[in-house]
Amino acid sequence: MHGFVRFVDGLSVVCAVVASILLTGAVLVVTWMVIIRALGYSSYWEIEFAVYLMVAAVFLGSPYCLKTNGHVSVDLLPTLLPAGSARTVVAVVSVVGLIVCLYLTYVGAELTLHSWATGETSGSLWAPPRWPMFIMMPLGLGLTALQYVAELVRLRNQSPGSEP
């Protein structure tokens, strides 16, 4: 199981690196747009493309965010409980988080498939298909669900005696 945890951790870091590159792309695209507009040319694809990049970046960043405990939470309940039951609460909360991510992955996949099948476009001048943006939701949150599984494995591997 250690191999699995390491693999998922690594995958999350890779996704975060890809997210960083996409975000840099968004910075460059918008900067480019402002420059060419200042020079008198018109722009039509840049805004939408930058939004696509941002959406992709934040969904791909989600598993890494979970891995590094970056999704803000209020752990009032676990801190009030004795160490033993706190562990149980953390485990239960992780399972709930896993279920929420799986559900959102499912509805996201449904949305993506529907959008892909109907050939839906954004309706703007550039009119890109919308499914490449939608697909980031099931992808990112599916990977987040996978990271939850890894966190649960990690939690189980920690012997209760080794808790701080």
Binding site: A16, V17, A19, S20, L23, T24, A26, V27, L28, V29, V30, T31, M33, V34, I47, A50, V51, Y52, M54, V55, A57, V58, F59, G61, S62, Y64, C65, L66, T68, G70, H71, V72, S73, V74, D75, L76, L77, P78, T79, V89, V90, V93, V96, G97, V100, C101, Y103, L104, V107, G108, E110, L111, M133, F134, M137
Partner: protein, 439 residues
């Protein structure tokens, strides 16, 4: 069930779910989906994914990752140290000059950074050890940074004000301008407090040796800060001149900051860039997931007619408007102790907008009051993010000491809210002068 009963059930469930330690984004999504399924039937769930996606795929929201990136880029560089060191050299002869230098540095840093914990971390990681070394009482040293850091979300650019602008459909440029004078006012109030405390402290014990600096030393390091001041001025110029939208300005500012960090601070190691982007991706994801989930949450509340019921109930109370404002602030203070500003603004504003309008409160003015209120939440337990940042930069100072040092600043912030309520012009003068009177 009546709307009121559902509303009370929702409040209880929300508190339990959010305090369980489940990430706020997933918690809000879970509650929204559960309430939709139970009270509207499973067919209402057909729009869950599209509601989430439509909310976060907006060009206005692109400002958030980009301003976070701007702050992270500058945070990784030594700009924080330079700002703070040059201020100290100018202020070294003033009692409490070191503390004041730190507070002003927080204020300046806040002008390129939209987040409070990031501001506290950037200045605190150099400022706190330095202050402790030179004999500033630990409570004052940590309290000053804890409070100074909160200026990050009041002084533009501010992630909190961007969200407020999106949630209330008010102009982000106007909101940013509205934060300038109150931000400066808080810097002055904090500094005065530090000055007075240092005067009292100096009388009690032997005066610490005053270090003097020559003009050359004072100017040293200044030139390295200049480009960042230039970024601040450029942001202000473009934003208020109406030449570009906030997202465009954020992109250019982030681009320039990255270039400057490379050119001036010679940051070119892959490791440093990873640190910048890692933090940016983490924070942006966290915020945008909460935004998407909060959109689901408010969709659910509005579909079940809860938002409207709550707003109507508040309007029909026909309270004195200042009693109402007081009650709203008490509620926000309590909520702010537990939840991050992002979640509070998105969940509460749909209810408050009609209430504020019915009572003739200006939405721009309220943005600033609410932001200062949220700042208090950032330095009070149990979820005071800034407290934990300071624990990180000064592990030798205990949490109770940090808290003791922060409390006087909390009182100053509350005093600032009272002053701004008596003199709303302090908030509204700058935006109205530069952008014309609001609607």
């Amino acid at each position: 069930m009546t709307e009121t009963q559902i509303g009370i059930l929702l409040l209880v469930v929300t508190l339990v779910v959010l305090f369980s330690g489940l990430p706020i984004a997933w918690g809000l999504a879970l509650i929204a989906v559960a309430f939709l399924a139970i009270f509207e039937g499973p067919t209402a769930l057909g729009v869950v994914a599209i509601t989430f996606m439509d909310e976060i795929s907006s060009f206005a929201l692109l400002t958030i990752p980009l301003f976070v990136l701007l702050g992270a880029a500058i945070g990784v560089s030594a700009a924080g140290r330079d700002i703070y060191e040059s201020l100290y050299r100018w202020l070294s002869r003033v009692p409490g000059g070191l503390v004041i230098a730190n507070i002003v540095a927080c204020g300046l840093f806040a002008a390129v950074c939209g987040s409070s914990p990031a501001t506290a971390a950037a200045i605190g990681k150099i400022g706190v050890p330095e202050m402790l070394k030179r004999g500033v009482p630990p409570a004052l040293a940590t309290g000053a940074i804890c409070a100074g850091g909160t200026l990050g979300i009041l002084i533009p650019p501010s992630v909190t004000l961007i969200l407020y602008g999106i949630a209330t459909e008010t102009s982000i440029g106007r909101l940013f301008l509205a934060g300038v004078v109150p931000g400066a006012m808080l810097v002055v109030m904090f500094s005065l407090y530090a000055w007075i405390m240092s005067m009292i402290g100096q009388r009690a014990e032997a005066a610490p040796p005053v270090q003097t600096f020559t003009l050359k030393e004072k100017m040293e390091g200044m030139w390295r800060v200049t480009p960042f001041i230039a970024i601040i001025v450029a942001i202000a110029y473009f934003m208020y001149g109406g030449f570009a939208t906030p997202s465009e300005i954020a992109a250019i500012a982030a681009f320039l900051a990255l270039v400057l960090v490379v050119v001036i601070y010679r940051t070119y190691k892959l490791q440093d860039f990873w640190a910048i982007f890692r933090d940016t991706v983490r924070e942006s994801t966290m915020i945008l997931m909460i935004i998407g989930a909060a959109a689901l949450f408010s969709y659910m509340m509005s579909l079940l007619y809860l938002t409207q019921t709550a707003a109507e109930a508040l309007v029909s109370l026909e309270m004195n408007r200042w009693v109402l404002m007081f009650a709203i602030n008490v509620f926000l203070l309590i909520a702010g102790c537990f939840l991050p500003p992002v979640a509070i603004i998105l969940m509460v504003m749909p209810i408050l907008i009609p209430v504020l309008e019915a009572n003739d409160f200006d939405l721009i003015w309220f943005a600033i009051i609410m932001t200062i209120n949220m700042e208090v939440g950032l330095i009070t337990p149990p979820v005071g993010l800034n407290l934990y940042v300071l624990r990180g930069v000064a592990p030798q100072v205990s949490l109770p000491t940090i808290l003791r040092g922060s409390m006087p600043f909390v009182y100053l912030m509350i005093a600032a809210m009272v002053i701004l309520s008596i003199f709303p012009e302090l908030v509204l003068w700058l935006p109205n002068t530069l952008m014309g009177p609001g609607l």
